[in-house]
Symmetry: C2
Subunit: 341 residues, 2 copies
């Protein structure tokens, strides 16, 4: 065993989820239960705040991303959390930048160009920040936004009978990463992704480098709500993978998920790859919204928002993901996503 | 010259101020001109947001601080920026934590205990955050607060004739750092700080480890404003040192500062040390407020808030700090505070 085990655990011993659980004990009850924090709940235009950190060698590297990609991705990952809370307006970002003194200004400039490009697309401005020398490049970004008049999207608001909906395909970002790293497929665990054609690979690399926060999906959700239906929609984003998103949603709502294997949200061309199902469920960094809502509202959303599909239902349960048909639980992800190696 | 000079400058070539200047070009005009950012200026209760990053080996080390000190200091530094903007209410903090996987949980727990202790004193809650593995321990903290009904404190609002006021002594934190590091005084540049008595050293170590954000000074400022006077007060905090604070204030307001040497804000016992004046002006990390305001209001504040003193005046000028009497400019700080070594 590592020296840190037992009475004096290290962060590696705890793992990311246990660490977040322990840190949540320092916050008000339920504060860490969602993608971002709500403030000022008394007013109609509740403020939403979220912080994400991107570390070189963990979340990005020169091998897979330009500086502008890093900036775009840092902004997009944060704005995706705002979308997952139901934000309708982005106020802006603060950015803490740490980099070795020998870092070229051109790299920093590229990062801020990428951040600005994302703000140009999704709204808000650069609000402020801080910078410091350090041994490793990293960005800690805090995003601020506001809900609309409707209400928030929370993980806890799903009910049995709700339709499970994904706003787009999953697994593309993981395929893009494999292509950028020229990963060597290891049979039999990872069947050959190299069968992917050039058009698919281009989409995959774009998905990895330039993910889109689905603020448009929140707008569509609001505009297609059936007349007279209350605002009740559970959701999260799939930054840690589709299976992880479903897990937080079902655990938050005290339900199981029943998934239709044939309805997994795959890029049609990617579906032909043997690795597709695994990367769809556990690839990570897809930044789509995964929602649970009334089936009638879900049908409206699927019509209104191209790429959206129903992938299953919530059933009474306790946070287990099952396959429709025989009800068997999904296999746990082999390489569960962790930021503490 | 370093390899990064010339057409491809590195961050070390630029230095911190030039870097912030260049990054400010990505934000709306004036956005980086103050200690923190104002949002939602239309409403009475303007939101204020600030981000600070603390890096091990740059801002803290196990040699000088416990984990709880690190957490307290991270919170206090951020809340000090909120105070410097005129905040009357702390909403809370988000915290991005980066640490090597082998970091003991006990260290992280200590940091969050320190953060919580500061929030317990000054208000607000832990709102959320993120964590990741990385090569070096660091915290990026974002604080959110609200102004009162009065208005903000900005660097640009000083006028010639204003009194310059400091809310407390300067240089103690630097003395505390010297004591904790057992710095070897290098004659003749740094006369012997070891003449400091034990009570003074204890105050100095406390000032270094547990700085107090002066939110109380903002409250005092509001409550002692003379009847009929408009809310117009310029200010900043002295996190980078008293001279640096005066520099940003005078440059922001387009004035010079005329300082009374005998009125420098020194701890009375520290005044006996030969190094006192230098560390008072350029020691850094004092986290007091440095304000420019109407002399009548300043007199009220000095009566209302113990430890506050008038240190000089603003005169027409262009951001130069001068000694009253002969008007000679202050010598530039020898070791100007930088985070890019």
């Amino acid at each position: 065993m590592a020296e840190g085990s037992g009475l004096a655990p290290t962060l590696a011993d705890l793992g990311e989820w246990e660490l977040i659980e322990r840190l949540g004990a320092f916050a008000p009850p339920g504060q860490f239960a969602d993608d971002a924090a709500l403030l000022d709940g008394r007013s109609q235009r509740t403020l939403v705040v979220n912080t994400d950190v991107l570390v070189e060698g963990v979340h990005f590297s020169d091998a897979t991303m330009t500086a502008a990609d890093v900036g775009w991705r840092a902004a997009a990952a944060n704005l995706s959390d705002l979308a997952a809370m139901g934000c309708r307006e982005v106020l802006g970002l603060t950015v803490a930048l740490v980099a070795p003194a020998a870092t070229p200004w051109a790299w920093v400039e590229g990062v801020y160009q990428g951040l600005s490009a994302a703000l140009g697309c999704y709204g808000g401005t650069l609000l402020g920040g801080d910078c410091s020398g350090g041994g490793q490049r990293l960005l800690a970004v805090t995003a601020l936004g506001r809900l609309g008049a409707d209400g928030p999207i929370r993980r806890r608001d799903g009910y049995p009978g709700d339709a499970l909906v994904s706003t787009g395909p999953h697994g593309l970002s993981r395929l893009g990463l494999a292509a950028l790293l020229q990963e060597i497929p290891t049979p039999p665990a990872a069947p050959n992704w190299r069968q992917a054609g050039p058009a698919l690979l281009e989409r995959a690399v774009q998905a990895h480098r330039r993910p889109r926060p689905r603020l448009d999906a929140v707008a569509a959700l609001a505009s297609c709500r059936p007349v007279g239906s209350p605002w009740r929609v559970a959701g999260t984003d799939s930054s840690d993978g589709l299976a992880a998103a479903l897990k937080t949603l079902t655990q938050g709502s005290g339900c199981d998920a029943l998934l239709e294997r044939r309805d997994l949200p795959l890029d049609p061309e990617m579906a032909a790859l043997a690795i597709a199902e695994s990367w769809c469920l556990n690839g990570g960094e897809d930044f789509e919204l995964v929602l649970a809502l009334d089936p009638g509202w879900a049908r409206q959303l699927i019509q209104a928002l191209p790429g959206t599909r129903r992938i299953g239902s919530l059933t009474p349960g306790s946070g287990i993901l099952r396959w429709a048909g025989d009800g068997s639980p999904l296999a746990d992800a082999d390489g569960s996503f962790t930021h503490f190696h």
